[in-house]
């Protein structure tokens, strides 16, 4: 077994609310410098920059293809997928359900070097048409792991939107915000039958790796991450 530090929730410049500096090489350099062995690239309702970050990372860092999906209840769910193709397929379904809204700020699709390839025309930071259950099902249909995002936050979280976490929800984990984990809020979500994670939710380079989990796994890869969240075969996932 090896020990891998993983920040499973990082945005890029495809999210309009993120710093423009959140480009592939800068994200990878920051992650490596902070000792991370794995990151999850999770832009709002899109996986459009996942391949570019993975290309920039090469074999220096495991890049998990992700997407932060906004359910119709406006609860955020992080989907982590076994491949960029799987994330992109799921993202196509999400995109087809997005309302047509004016895009006030740039949502940049970039290559590994950070050059702008195009601008996403659909406003991504809005609710999709998928219900919470439908979102979890979407993630699972594409072989992914569904994680309720920043459950300790007062906005865009399952508890803020739905009053509490449905006990029959099929999440692989609940994510506590980096701040919440630091001030001991994770304990409030233990004992609900879900694994717990934390992540930076970084929208700025300085924040990459601000929150991370420690994985005890055979290798830094999606399959091992899935085992760690399930607590299977001796793999483990802990909040640092």
């Amino acid at each position: 077994m090896i020990r891998v530090a993983a920040d499973l929730h990082v945005h890029t410049c495809l999210s309009s609310c993120a710093e423009r500096a959140m480009r592939p090489r800068a994200i990878v350099e920051a992650a490596v410098a902070r000792g991370l062995g794995m990151i999850g690239v999770c832009d709002h309702n899109s996986a459009g920059n996942v391949r570019s970050v993975a290309a920039a990372a090469g074999d220096r860092l495991c890049v998990i293809a992700g997407m932060e999906i906004a359910t119709r209840e406006e609860a955020h769910v992080v989907g982590l997928f076994p491949s960029a193709a799987a994330a992109e397929e799921a993202a196509r379904e999400v995109a087809a359900s997005l309302p047509r809204c004016r895009v006030p700020e740039e949502q940049e699709l970039v290559d590994a070097d950070g050059a702008t390839l195009g601008l996403e025309p659909l406003l991504l930071s809005v609710a999709s048409a998928f219900s919470l259950e439908g979102t979890v099902d979407l993630v699972h249909r594409h072989g992914g792991l569904a994680i309720a995002a920043h459950v300790d936050r007062r906005s865009f979280s399952v508890p803020s939107q739905l009053g509490f976490i449905p006990t029959d929800a099929l999440f692989e984990a609940l994510e506590v915000s980096a701040h919440g984990a630091r001030v001991g809020r994770a304990a409030a979500f233990a004992g609900l039958g879900f694994a717990l994670t934390t992540g930076s939710d970084a929208h700025a380079i300085d924040l990459v790796g601000e929150g991370f989990v420690v994985l005890d796994v055979e290798a830094p890869c999606f399959r091992e991450l899935a085992l760690a969240l399930a607590g299977s075969d001796g793999r483990e996932c802990g909040i640092a």
Binding site: E73, S131, L132, R154, S155, P159, S160, Q161, L162, G163, F164, P166
Partner: protein, 124 residues
């Protein structure tokens, strides 16, 4: 004013036929944040929301709501209706927006919780 009188006055569809609509209602709350409804909806009132998630039923029961009105044409799944019937929580459907329904209820003398009583998310 009873739930039956409100249903009639506002022309609401009843999603849970057979439940008693004789309960008197004097208060209401309009919110799509169920954490807010949980914290602030006045007991014995009616909850107006466009949320149709199953948690609406659980939150309404916990907040001791007399009924829920789904506004803006939102229709809950059958599982939501079934749970509400089991729990004897009347559900209504309105084609009009939350604002319109709230206005009509206000005109009938129904009032919201006083602002000083507010707790929970976003409260400074």
């Amino acid at each position: 004013m009873t739930l039956a009188q409100i249903q009639h006055a506002l022309g609401l569809g009843c999603l849970t036929p057979g439940l008693d609509l004789g309960r008197e209602v004097t208060a209401a709350h309009a919110s799509d944040l169920l954490s807010d409804a949980l914290a602030n909806a006045p007991a014995g009132g009616v909850l107006l929301t466009i949320q149709v998630h199953l948690n609406v039923v659980a939150v309404a029961l916990h907040a001791q709501q007399a009924a829920v009105i789904f506004t803006w044409g939102m229709q809950p799944d059958e599982v939501v209706v079934r749970r509400a019937v089991e729990e004897r929580l009347p559900l209504f459907a309105a084609a009009a927006s939350t604002f319109e329904i709230a206005g009509e209820l206000y005109g009938l003398g129904v009032r919201g919780a006083p602002s000083a009583s507010r707790t929970g998310p976003g409260k400074a």
